[in-house]
């Protein structure tokens, strides 16, 4: 109970002015504050990479929601991260067309190069590896995304090459 109160009193300073402005912008499009819940989570995540407990509680308070209710929303969606992630998230497609085209071998290679399995972050905090529903590029399978970039027709050699070069993946 005490802990809770401490967090509550600190909430005022959790979100930045810019974040609050951006969330308020979304609020102007929706008839109820909770309607902007997912947008607000995404705004905070865009700036911080993930949504911490303190951020979640601050957003909930800003939207007149209980933090439990907002947590239910946040944990439903696979692109909202409730744990810290690396600088870049790798969204690895393991759906059917990629599977037929050998994505399991590619996945093993990625895991081996980065030393992580699905749901884990590399020790240098550069990459988090996550599976993702079919990325809609099945004619170029196997595919994955690194940050905002879609990489297609993946081969094991290419994975070697990709993660040998630490400069990979600037903002294109």
């Amino acid at each position: 109970m005490n802990n809770n109160q401490v967090i509550q009193t600190d909430l005022a300073n959790v979100l930045t002015e810019e974040e609050i402005l951006e969330i308020n912008q979304e609020l102007s499009h929706v008839p109820y504050k909770s309607g902007a819940a997912i947008d607000a989570l995404k705004i905070v995540q865009k700036n911080r990479g993930w949504v911490s407990d303190a951020c979640l509680q601050a957003i909930a308070r800003h939207l007149d929601m209980s933090s439990e209710d907002l947590e239910g929303v946040a944990t439903f969606y696979n692109l909202i991260y409730r744990r810290p992630v690396g600088e870049k998230v790798i969204l690895f497609c393991d759906s059917v067309s990629c599977w037929i085209c050998g994505c399991d071998r590619i996945k093993e290679k990625v895991s081996q190069k980065l030393g992580v399995d699905f749901g884990e972050t590399t020790s240098d905090k550069k990459y988090t590896l996550l599976p993702v529903p079919c990325l809609g590029a099945c004619d170029r399978a196997p595919v994955m995304m690194i940050g905002d970039d879609l990489l297609t027709n993946l081969s094991e050699d290419e994975i070697d090459h990709l993660f040998a070069d630490s400069d990979f993946g600037g903002d294109k």
Partner: protein, 440 residues
């Protein structure tokens, strides 16, 4: 195909279109015609008589869907909404991405016309967050539309007002279900809603709402501009218009092509995709994405029409074929699909939340050589129980069962060999083992 309609601005040598390029090739003619000469009722009649059917998978007649929206005095005062379902996440589907990345204005023109027809004043493009390029190009295109007066107040002097927003989603396959999508747009968990009430009368924020697929909406400008009879004449079989067909799997030339509705499957697989890669034979295929029943080589000469594929025991779905070759394990393929659907279950109803992971575990046992005759009986039970319409809250779980039930029918021998041989007969050529359930 000589007369491409939806992809006339799309090709390997063509740049993504902006406003100028889109208009130069006949773009926004449908909008100009409608704003000047056609009432919403005229547009509704045109789309109804064109026999356009929804391209998202269900094939529901678009004109009929729109006709359920209350119009004029029959509608209580307030907003009506038009939502584009751009949440392409069906395993094996990759057609809407193409339309949005390369010709975003075509979708927007279709949406303006659809909104005009149903009297909507607010519209959203609900798009999966991973479609980074589509999101950017759609936003750029929307800005061009506001500058031109194709969106905003009093569009082209007609008195019609419309706002349009791009809404990137935060993920989950279930958002493709239209009432789940509406819940996601409202900032809630994307559990599907009970129907009735249908979204046409009570959708987003409880107001009349139409949700249409990207490809469906891309057809609208052409129907308005060139007429229902012309549209019907495009089809080669029973259904109207053209369709984006895709092929993925181990074929020579995987890709996406616009062809007349009713094109024979053989023409798509062999003519466009170049047939199987060297050393591989066709064993079967899912005609319309991951939640459709397998068909087999004897079906190759069937027309890709909704009813023809339906009579053969499957669904045309998204029209994107997934090819199973003779060196890929059918049990492994179905396991991959069931694992996908088990993971993507929203968790609302028991047959889906509990039944799909159970089915996944049974399939994993069989694939890894631990399966028994009893497991095959369990699968038959699950097929009947989960697959039955009415046992589940929405169509996700019955859709998941479709590839399993047809694999058990056509590839039963493969299931039996896994059980009797205590191993996967394809393992020497397989692509290493699948993830165990529960890891993600």
């Amino acid at each position: 195909m000589k007369d491409r309609v939806l992809t006339r601005n799309i090709g390997p040598d063509l740049e993504p279109t902006n406003m100028a390029a889109y208009e130069k090739n006949g773009g926004y003619q449908g909008l100009k015609k409608a704003m000047k000469d056609l009432s919403p009722k005229d547009c509704q009649d045109l789309v109804s008589s064109s026999n356009l059917r929804g391209r998202g998978g269900a094939g529901f007649p678009t004109g009929m869907k729109w006709s359920f929206v209350p119009m004029g005095d029959k509608c209580t005062p307030g907003h009506k909404y038009l939502v584009c379902n751009a949440d392409e996440m069906e395993p094996g589907a990759f057609k809407d991405r193409l339309l949005m990345e390369y010709d975003p204005h075509q979708l927007i023109e279709g949406m303006i016309l659809a909104a005009y027809t149903i009297g909507a004043d607010l519209s959203y493009i609900f798009i999966r967050g991973e479609y980074i390029v589509s999101i950017k190009r759609l936003r750029d295109a929307l800005s061009e539309c506001y500058e031109k007066g194709y969106l905003g107040k009093n569009i082209l002097g007609n008195g019609f007002d419309l706002e349009m927003h791009v809404h990137p989603s935060a993920g989950r396959y279930i958002c493709g279900e239209e009432t789940a999508l509406i819940n996601a747009l409202e900032g809630k968990r994307a559990n599907p809603r009970a129907k009735p009430p249908f979204p046409q009368v009570s959708g987003l924020w409880g107001r009349p709402t139409i949700v249409n697929n990207v490809e469906t909406l891309c057809n609208i400008p052409h129907i308005i501009d060139r007429g229902a009879e012309w549209f019907k004449s495009l089809g080669a079989g029973q259904d109207s218009g053209t369709k984006l067909f895709g092929v993925s799997g181990r074929v020579i030339n995987p890709g996406c092509w616009e062809l007349p509705m009713g094109t024979p499957i053989r023409e798509i697989l062999e003519g466009c995709a170049g047939g199987m890669q060297k050393g591989l034979e066709l064993k079967g295929f899912l005609p319309g994405g991951g939640s459709t029943d397998f068909l087999v080589p004897e079906h190759l000469d069937l027309a890709m029409d909704y009813d023809v594929i339906g009579k053969a025991g499957s669904r045309m779905g998204t029209g994107t074929l997934i090819i199973l070759d003779d060196q890929t394990c059918p049990v492994g393929m179905v396991l991959n699909l069931i694992r996908f659907f088990a993971h993507e279950s929203c968790g609302f109803c028991t047959p889906c939340r509990e039944g799909l992971p159970w089915t996944q575990q049974v399939l994993l046992n069989i694939e890894e050589g631990r399966g028994t005759e009893k497991d095959l009986e369990t699968l038959a039970f699950q097929i009947n129980y989960i697959g039955a319409i009415g046992n589940t809250h929405c169509a996700l779980a019955p859709g998941a069962i479709e590839p399993l039930q047809s694999a058990m029918k056509y590839f039963r021998e493969d299931f039996n060999r896994h059980v009797s041989g205590h191993s996967c007969p394809y393992s020497s050529v397989s692509k290493t083992s699948l993830k165990k359930p529960g890891v993600h």
